[in-house]
Symmetry: C2
Subunit: 591 residues, 2 copies
């Protein structure tokens, strides 16, 4: 069965050597000294290793069961959920006014990675609750906050997000769920929602559903949609639980993975709900949570790859098969370990260099969200909003690919459920789909984010990359970093230029290249991260940092990424510049 | 539930317009006129659509069950297997001396694709039997042939191949299964084999296991291994069935996919076996079957992608979501079909252009095998032996990727088992692993095949590609084909040159690039196929072929592949030329 150990050393390097958190003027960062963050991350690691990871295969095997309207989660989930609550982990980055611990979102993300790596399906119960918390915290009335937030912070109640209907996923304008206003100011919600993660379960005494629905007067399309709070159990004025609301789970889905999380069909039959935020502005309310939600999914992508990598690495060191081509490395044994073989190493290095690069990018983005939320830093907000579709789309595509590669290290054993490697791939697969399928991320990036605020944010990104390259001019130690980054960033700019020139005449020319652009930008982002990490590692080495082996491995891993992964940028550019002609040539009938 | 229709038109185009089979001097090809091949393929298509495809999801859901040593296959498999036998499908390309129909291997492959697309797990029972048939046909004594072949041809008995043991997969030198010679010339086989597909089931009255084992005197390593025929039920001299042999299925594995096929742990407890071929030359006997077996797996790769593509295409035409960016295309409906969106088209075109290219490559390779086997054409044998690792490795990697992309078209519905798209991805995944994991294919290609017979075959391949490019010099209609192919083939040659120059000094430099070389060569092969198909399509258009729409779509699809997929070659070359340094930099402890 797979095991998991939290990568605390790598996280500490990012927090303290790369992001230098205690030196930051972001409110709350000054408290994040090395011993404090180490204590938090190590404690989270213990919970992950001892409590969550052993339940990962259990959840996959048992799945959730719907009986008489009640969903039973896998054996052990209940106790583990209680342990998470009792340990205060659900409250980590929540508002102290409602029982939270007020730590920065950056710390919430680091701890989140640890929990997601150990057990993605389990962690979704808490993750969705955090989403509901954020929505109510941002858009709720004082009464709503007082009623719901403390319970969501403690996870005594959990939350959900209800968007999708059978006939509409991406195109929410087609939505049919209706909200009828009542005299007391509440609404009666009627309709069917599907793919509702954690829509029904036995881990909490109440579930707070946030439901998108159409109230009268909103007009056609997605702009007239409103967001409602629809509790499973109605809450009395004194905060105690009252009657069951008119809603039920009609079915749970059989899925490729994340079996431990109940994916529900939810039926609202005149269920009582209350408007959250402004009438007919539900989409706007959703969008304010989108950055965090999509960053969370991008995090799932590399977190699954991390867990898969740890196990592939252990297997590659342990399994004896064949001999090194340059001479036996384990001459006293019957064969050499797999890790001596160059193609196994190529595979492992691809995993390692992706995961560490994606972690750096995710932590940086979480830091930008902290700057945006805690400091009102508009530049940070613009930049992170530009990068979110890249983080979500690129990291989940690559995270899945890497989980598949980790599985490949095991040969036939990787295909057998007993070894647990299949689960990493199956679980990781969903992250490419939900919270906006990756094609939609690419569309958001190219069709919306590039031009946002007159293209200011993408220009700022280009300038930032240029400055990073310039900063290492003439520094021989950084040669394998600054030069490839420069080449790749020029290719990215050239692609952007192509979109500007040809997209004006023919929007299909830009949109045909959107997916490649998302990946091209992903590689440039990771190239930038690796350049910064290499620089930080050299600084730490110069300063006499104790763990030279770790720092030297960090630099070597970065060199691999720059030499072996950045060449993908040229391919993506060539695809983009081939334009729409071959993509759009066939009529639908000619396929 | 997914549906499947055999791509008869596309197969006919390959057989008659590209390969021009009736004009070939290959024995047996003159009979393959258009109406005959159409009749065979359409009849196979009916079986696939009506009998096999409906059982695909059933097999996935029910799986196989082991009870008291007996494996029960999914409901309906038994009747379907009988239908395949009664229809003569199992005998199609087998030797008429033993009840076969004697059709070329090429036709067996075309029909095989149809059955594999419809139900991969089901078709493995027959596929492995065909492998055992080939082994006994090639290496058996007259007695062995007379005893086993007619029953294997009819699939009254099925076959298996037993290589892997718990501690050894690729490295068969570590094998522990023993064969003790008996006075009557037979052997007693003792040991445990794992991952034995179709090792035990209820579809046939006997199972003929081919087992690799070590007989005394063979020395250490893989060279001393011998191959044995070990029937589940002993066969009396008169051909009737006798006593049960001392072998049993100890367990069936829970797998990521191909649930309908029983993957068995087989225990041989002094089971009686008979030597097949020469003593201590079992590996050589295995290798003679390797080309066909690996081509069959490469075929599974694109056959799964074909089935997935058909369903993704239907969904993209049917599902209404969003509006075309250039203006509504379905103004009277609530939204446009998915297929109007450029990124959905990019996705579909990637699937379509891969599947059609891979089909062409596979058919061509099957044709070369026919020339090699039926005509003793050594050049054809050398060429196909060079291409086999590419066909196996590249086509199964891409086949899986494309099945995943097809799943992506469905959004959340792709992740739900109900829609069947997850199964295509899960089933396709195994093809990257068995019959030599794809890393081993890359090693075979770069470490063995490139240099085989003094590099004669790879040189012949380069010359063939060059000649193809030259043939279209100045032909404007072929501009989008010959030029990109020329660029890509130069990149391939440059990579080969790098291996020659640096691999001499450091074998790791070549092996670090082996996987990229396999993919680079895969793209060049498909580029060559697309160039040939475009030429054939133009010829047919010039000749006034009736189906202009099909031929024009063929050319447009080829243009997509050349413009959008061949640019991967430059990336692979850059990775290869970065050498071993970054791949091998870390010590095993530093990971």
């Amino acid at each position: 069965m797979p095991t998991y150990t939290a990568p605390v050393k790598d996280m500490q390097f990012l927090l303290h050597n790369v992001l230098k958190v205690t030196a930051s003027d972001t409110p709350g960062y000054s408290e994040l000294d090395e011993s404090f963050t180490a204590a938090v991350l190590e404690e989270a690691g213990k919970v992950a290793t001892d409590v969550l990871a052993p339940l990962n295969a259990v959840g996959d095997r048992e799945g959730c069961v719907l009986e008489n309207g009640v969903v039973r989660t896998p054996k052990g989930f209940d106790a583990a959920f209680k342990a998470m609550k009792d340990g205060g982990w659900t409250a980590l980055d929540c508002d102290p006014d409602y029982g939270g611990q007020g730590l920065p979102y950056l710390m919430g993300s680091a701890v989140g990675e640890i929990f997601v790596s150990a057990n993605m399906a389990f962690n979704m119960y808490q993750g969705l609750t955090h989403g509901a918390y954020s929505a109510i915290h941002t858009h709720g009335t004082d009464d709503q906050k007082a009623t719901y937030l403390p319970k969501l912070v403690s996870c005594d109640w959990t939350g959900t997000m209800n968007l999708t209907e059978p006939h509409c996923g991406t195109d929410l304008g087609l939505m049919r769920t209706k909200a009828e206003p009542q005299e007391d100011g509440s609404y009666l919600i009627t309709g069917q929602k599907i793919f509702i993660s954690a829509g029904e379960h036995d881990l909490a005494e109440n579930i707070i559903h946030l439901v998108l629905a159409k109230a009268p007067g909103g007009g056609e399309g997605s702009k007239g949609i409103s967001l409602f709070i629809v509790p499973k159990v109605l809450v009395n004025e004194d905060g105690s639980l009252g009657a069951r609301n008119s809603l039920s789970c009609g079915k749970i889905e059989e899925k490729m993975g994340i079996h431990g999380n109940a994916t529900c069909v939810m039926n609202y039959d005149g269920a009582r709900g209350w408007l959250l935020g402004d009438l007919h502005k539900g989409m706007r309310a959703m969008f304010t949570m989108m950055n965090e939600a999509r960053l969370g999914v991008g995090l799932q992508g590399y977190a699954q790859a991390e867990a898969a990598y740890q196990n592939a690495l252990a297997y590659a060191k342990d399994r004896l098969q064949g001999r090194a081509v340059t001479g036996a490395e384990n001459p006293s044994g019957p064969a050499d370990p797999l890790i001596v073989h160059p193609d196994i190493r190529r595979n492992l290095m691809e995993q390692k260099s992706f995961v560490e690069g994606a972690r750096a990018l995710t932590f940086w983005a979480a830091h930008l969200i902290d700057r945006s939320v805690r400091q009102g830093d508009a530049a940070a907000e613009g930049l992170v909003s530009l990068m979110i579709p890249v983080i979500k789309g690129f990291q989940t595509d690559k995270g899945f690919d890497m989980a598949v590669q980790a599985q490949q290290v095991f040969g036939g054993h990787g295909y057998i459920e007993e070894w647990g490697m299949s689960q990493f791939a199956r679980d990781a697969r969903i992250a490419m789909i939900y919270e906006g399928a990756n094609g939609v991320q690419a569309l958001d990036l190219v069709g919306r984010k590039l031009a946002q605020d007159g293209g200011k944010h993408v220009m700022a990104f280009f300038e930032m990359v240029k400055a990073e390259c310039r900063a290492h001019d003439g520094d021989d130690r950084m040669k394998g970093f600054a030069e490839p980054l420069k080449v790749a960033s020029k290719q990215l700019q050239q692609a952007g230029m192509f979109f500007m020139q040809s997209g004006m005449k023919n929007p299909n020319a830009a949109l045909s290249g959107s997916y490649d652009f998302m990946h091209l930008m992903g590689h440039v982002c990771l190239g930038l991260m690796w350049t910064r990490m290499a620089k930080a590692a050299h600084e730490a080495l110069d300063a006499g940092h104790a763990d030279r082996d770790y720092l030297e491995a960090k630099i070597a891993t970065g060199r691999f990424y720059m030499a072996r992964q950045l060449p993908a940028c040229g391919m993506h550019l060539a695809r983009i510049e081939s334009g729409a002609d071959t993509v759009m040539a066939l009529s639908a009938e000619a396929f």
